[in-house]
Symmetry: D2
Subunit: 430 residues, 4 copies
């Protein structure tokens, strides 16, 4: 039937996530600092979710490399809780409630990351599950593990107590005031083709029964197109790729993925090109083959990235340490045209691709946007033929080059010399 | 850019195809007989393409089972031509021109089936290729064969002469007046995951350079969702399944496929659930595990089939011997509500599925259509909650049951007892 | 170089194993009872190993179905120890020493089963590893698990402490007086093609450094012929199949496997057709699709089984409760001709196979053995042509039918009517 | 039963093959020239088979690259015949008889290469098959082709006429006096895991029914160990690898393969490490990434190669143009110790391998041979511990280094500095 959770994300979710900067180690103070910055500098542009990424329950986390079998902070019902050395406000069993309250007070929303499943330590300690006489050992899938992290076992969907566990988990998160959940080790199993769809469905049901609005985001990718219908029915966003970092081949490859998934973009359901590794990142993360740095993308590549994400309408989850943003980064993240097409674009799609020359199109209420991308390693002249526009679409005459603000005469065909990896975004009044 | 060939099929193609009745053996007289019937009884409903299926160049074809390495009729440029014993009007090198003319004179359009590639016999006889000094041996892919038919080798896309061959082929078809081409052994390779996309692209270009409008249909399935964007860019229809026959498991399975592919349905590009094996079929075909018969589908199943095809908007290619249609079959094929939602439906999609209870939705200018399907082997009561309709959609009050023409009060929820494999199609005024 | 461990098993190992009767639940009293029976009735025939199969460290084991994540008895160094409720003689940290002593006193040898790896509970409790400052968490492979049992993680071969752990394990077993080790979850990974060869090599080294003779047996199968050379270099026996039970299709299938592996049979290295599910089995096991019973094999099939195992020279590990042996079973297990060819056969191989008629050959010092097997479900007449014998082999004239003791004239060709699934074993003096 | 064809190759076949020099293009004159050389210089050492490799029926062959769909010379029964421009002695339908006679007169034996199957041109021309009313079209497998050569279709084993064809083929070869057949596209299918075993069996039967002795060699590799038993039952030699050329990585890799296959070496059945690419090769071949040259192997590598082939007992099929042999090459090919261990070695096997240090062992009547190989790219000191010899083997005291003829004192352990890729072959009197 009509899918209620789709109303939670009518436009692509926007916000900040701690992963690209802090790996598995972010602290409450860092989250708070970024939230304040966002409230001041980015909220108006639409950034609203502040998300604490993986292993907030690991008191000894030191980077983006997980410590095998580390002890995790956990309550009496097999549910992980914030590590107090990193999140002191969680004291007295308050969990993330105080931090979420703070963030709500800034006019923002609060999100957390979780791993699919139940903690292995709860299983080996045979802890209770709230709302059922069964225990962690009863509900764990004996051979369902994540290949890259040792925290969890999968949860059985063939007995009611499995659903009970997920319900108890999301009840807790609702009581904390969580608005956004990123579930990991679930959209692509990494061991087998496809997702853990049975657990996705349990999580959907667990969220719904709380009565609280929580956006559901699924990781990692690549999700599989064969499962697109099910993903849309159960989640708000799901990853199209494995982790995205600031190297050109990953960005170039995203064009193919965006083209493949563009039919599946729409209110409430957003294929996800992953976080924006811009600004200062890698502070305590070593993923992506680098550590503390400003993004390795050139300015041209950054504009290309943001233009593609905007035209395609991928979620914007900024990965940089906000307080270290330079002007270029902040301006790019809050560019009015990008935000306009990102939030209100319609009929967006790849118009054409010849080798490394790609053209995307999107419509907003007042404008037509056409993006010309040069993915080649040499400069290229790209031309755009106005006849390629849909038949019922007529540009009214004005044509602007976004970013340079240059006005172009609407001569046929429009032609541009574009540097390697760079792009031109045109705005045509309609 | 805008895709010109999409204008050729603004609504899902409709017509008749000889395969389900006549396998590889249909004659000119049988084609003509069916065309006349269609002109008289089905054209008004929208059926227009009359398609001669596989091996019209095989003078000794006896059923749907191919004779290995049979001699094929061929012109001096490695192009197959109609077998004169079956298509006498093709005499004097006229090819299908006279037959196409006749069909055009009836107000209908003419189509043919071809196999991907160049005849193996042309290669082994080293025949010329029109427009190039190279020969059949030069352009054949040495190890690209169809696993289920011995007629052809694939054509090389890495040398210009390969494109020359396809150009010469479609030039010939254009000169005959062909309006519709079904290319086989191309949408799913059966040996490897995926299609022969390089030859699909050559065929697209070959059609375009003729200047003649020809609808392009790709077989067999299952096509792969991963290639959906490319299929849409190059063809008008492509099969979602291997051959479809009149047995329930294949029909039940189609619901899953239609759900998966529903994003890819639209003007000019139609995922294809395959032919309608209704009425009298199997006259000289033994495929699908049966021979000469009336369709093995029950009447309930036939209505279910036509309702799904209509709601999803799959092409309608009737497979029966038209002249043997009974009233039930003809009425079903020309049902005004089915045709309305088939030709003008928008936002069509599966609303929900719980086990064997499936609900589909589509909108036309004046009506909302809701189809309730019971795929179970026992009777079921299905209910439809009006709140499941999109927010901006308001039924005006009238509700009719298509087929029984019964008027229902628009009470909440609408509830129906449905026989096994049967369905209810509701029409709500808006 | 010359492989020292091959001297430990100059003939195929023979003995008894608790799995077929008792699943994961055998008790000391049952082991003792069987050992006494063997000493009295089977030792003279060559049966010597008494093996305690899986989960002797699981105090709550109830059948052959494992209890997920059950608590296991373990020492302070992450090494599993016998459950005292099942093995009371292990009290005061004596482990299996007292039981091994008893069995040695009977003139027999003592064996145990272990799972590849280190207990998951040791990892989650972060227990020490003897001889290294590292702990269980350091040496566990984070994503190496057995798909059908939750007891263990794999052990890392890339750090010295991994080898330390296996050394400490086999030091303990040596101190107990263990003579035979069956390692499970190692010869076929069940998740990937191939074995866990890195851990096989660590176990080899761990055994060698103890200085004690321990026969090494690897499970489960199917092992892969591609790894035969490595298996032979590191183990004494390895399984050719997954678990073997008393149903005909598994027995019939073993003929193909024995043919494939017959080159790899030799002193010290024995491809293993698995245990002999004869006599009374399934007492507390539900594997193989049945429970407490006498073997489901007919007498003909039992003779066929024992004849194949003998001719091929697979280990004889009896699976039945010895004390319930009937005369037929005991006679079959101790048949002098079978034992002769099993222990002293040379040049053994399949001579021919035509459909379901299979002939095997083996030579001993005084006799030539020829086995004719009818694998068909109907009676067949099988003939043996004496010219099929190797050129340098000349039968001296006497020919006996083993089991019936009938003397046959050595006419050409020898011909026998054989019942379905039955066999004839011929003994020719040389 | 006893396998008659094993008597045809009691020692590993030795001879010359035209492939490495002449690709698909060798002429009668070149064959004759090499045969004369062999009779004079190599016959005494045991080289006896002179083999004409692929496409002797292709009059236009120019190198080792096949001309797609080339016309082939063929008789009236779909059997390929020698191209007269290359083999003028085959005139008057004499086939290879005159050339074979010449070679026999030199005291040598004659061999040919064939592709599995029936010529595609025979199928498309629908030629007769000798001894059956069926034709080429009837017996061809419709979708069984070689992925790298366009000459043939596979032959059906499910109808008698398929066997008839192979019988007619080998009858012809028998009438020509052929002594050795190398069948290609059969031991590894290159498209699927495994061989074309059904056609191997037909060929075995076809050879047997001729009554003539013909050694059967199967190509290309890698053959699969899983099929070793069947290969041994039906052929005399089969390839362990794809084509072998004069580059070190292929030679290094052969050590692993020889270790895996060493159990399958024995009188009549020889796993084949492929031809010896020594001396002058590549004259009209461009395979292996090079053209006309002396072998790219260094002298050390050549000795390593010949030592491995000899110890393992792979067939010796020399690939060089004999008449261009230099002294080093001829001496190496005819080294008495290599030949001794190659022809009379027993119990040969890899004794040990640690990283790049490999030791092989073999026994002859008078000597023990131990080969020490340094596969590393730096010099290494390898030592051999006499205790590694089998228990029942006692060296009598004399120890010689083959090639240098140096006498060594039999001190413990024997130790040698060995250059990169080089080897030491020791001969110990027993």
């Amino acid at each position: 039937m009509k899918i209620p959770h789709h109303t939670l994300a009518p436009t692509p979710p926007m916000g900040w996530n701690s992963w690209d900067c802090y790996g598995a180690t972010v602290t409450e103070e860092e989250v708070r600092g970024n939230a304040k910055y966002i409230a001041e500098h980015m909220k108006e542009a639409g950034y609203e979710y502040v998300v604490v990424d993986i292993q907030w329950y690991e008191s000894g986390a030191v980077s983006s490399v997980y410590r095998p079998f580390a002890d995790l902070t956990m309550d009496q019902y097999s549910r992980l809780t914030p590590a107090l050395n990193r999140f002191p406000s969680a004291k007295d069993n308050q969990g993330f409630k105080p931090l979420a309250d703070e963030i709500h007070a800034l006019g923002l929303k609060f999100g957390i990351h979780i791993m699919r499943g139940i903690p292995r330590q709860a299983v080996h300690q045979n802890m209770p599950i709230k709302g059922t006489p069964l225990t962690a050992r009863d509900i764990a899938k004996t051979n369902s593990i994540c290949p890259w992290n040792t925290d969890m076992y999968g949860v059985r969907s063939d007995i009611d107590a499995g659903q009970c566990y997920y319900n108890s988990l999301f009840d807790l998160y609702a009581s904390w005031g969580v608005d956004f959940i990123k579930v990991d080790d679930i959209a692509d199993s990494k061991l087998y083709h496809g997702s853990h769809m049975d657990e996705i469905k349990m999580i959907r049901q667990a969220i719904d029964q709380t009565g609280r609005d929580m956006v559901l985001s699924l990781s990692p990718g690549p999700s599989h197109l064969d499962e697109a219908a099910d993903l849309e029915d159960h989640a708000n966003m799901w990853r199209m790729t494995d982790d995205f970092w600031d190297v050109w081949p990953l960005l170039k490859d995203m064009f193919t993925r965006c083209h493949k998934w563009s039919k599946n973009v729409g209110p409430g359901h957003w294929p996800d090109a992953d976080m924006l590794p811009l600004g200062r990142i890698g502070i305590r993360s070593v993923d992506g083959g680098a550590s503390d740095r400003y993004t390795r993308f050139t300015e041209d590549e950054q504009i290309t990235l943001m233009t593609l994400w905007s035209m395609f309408r991928s979620p914007f989850m900024f990965g940089g340490e906000c307080r270290d943003n330079d002007t270029f980064t902040l301006d790019l993240l809050t560019n009015k045209d990008l935000l306009n097409v990102h939030r209100t674009g319609k009929n967006q799609r790849q118009l054409s691709r010849h080798d490394d020359e790609v053209i995307w199109y999107s419509e907003t209420e007042d404008y037509l946007y056409v993006a010309l991308f040069n993915l080649n390693d040499t400069s290229r002249t790209l031309t755009f033929d106005l006849n390629a526009l849909p038949d019922d679409i007529k540009p009214a005459g004005d044509c602007y080059v976004v970013f340079t603000d240059e006005k172009k005469t609407l001569n046929q065909p429009l032609s541009f010399d574009i540097r390697p990896h760079a792009s031109i975004l045109l705005k045509l009044s309609r």
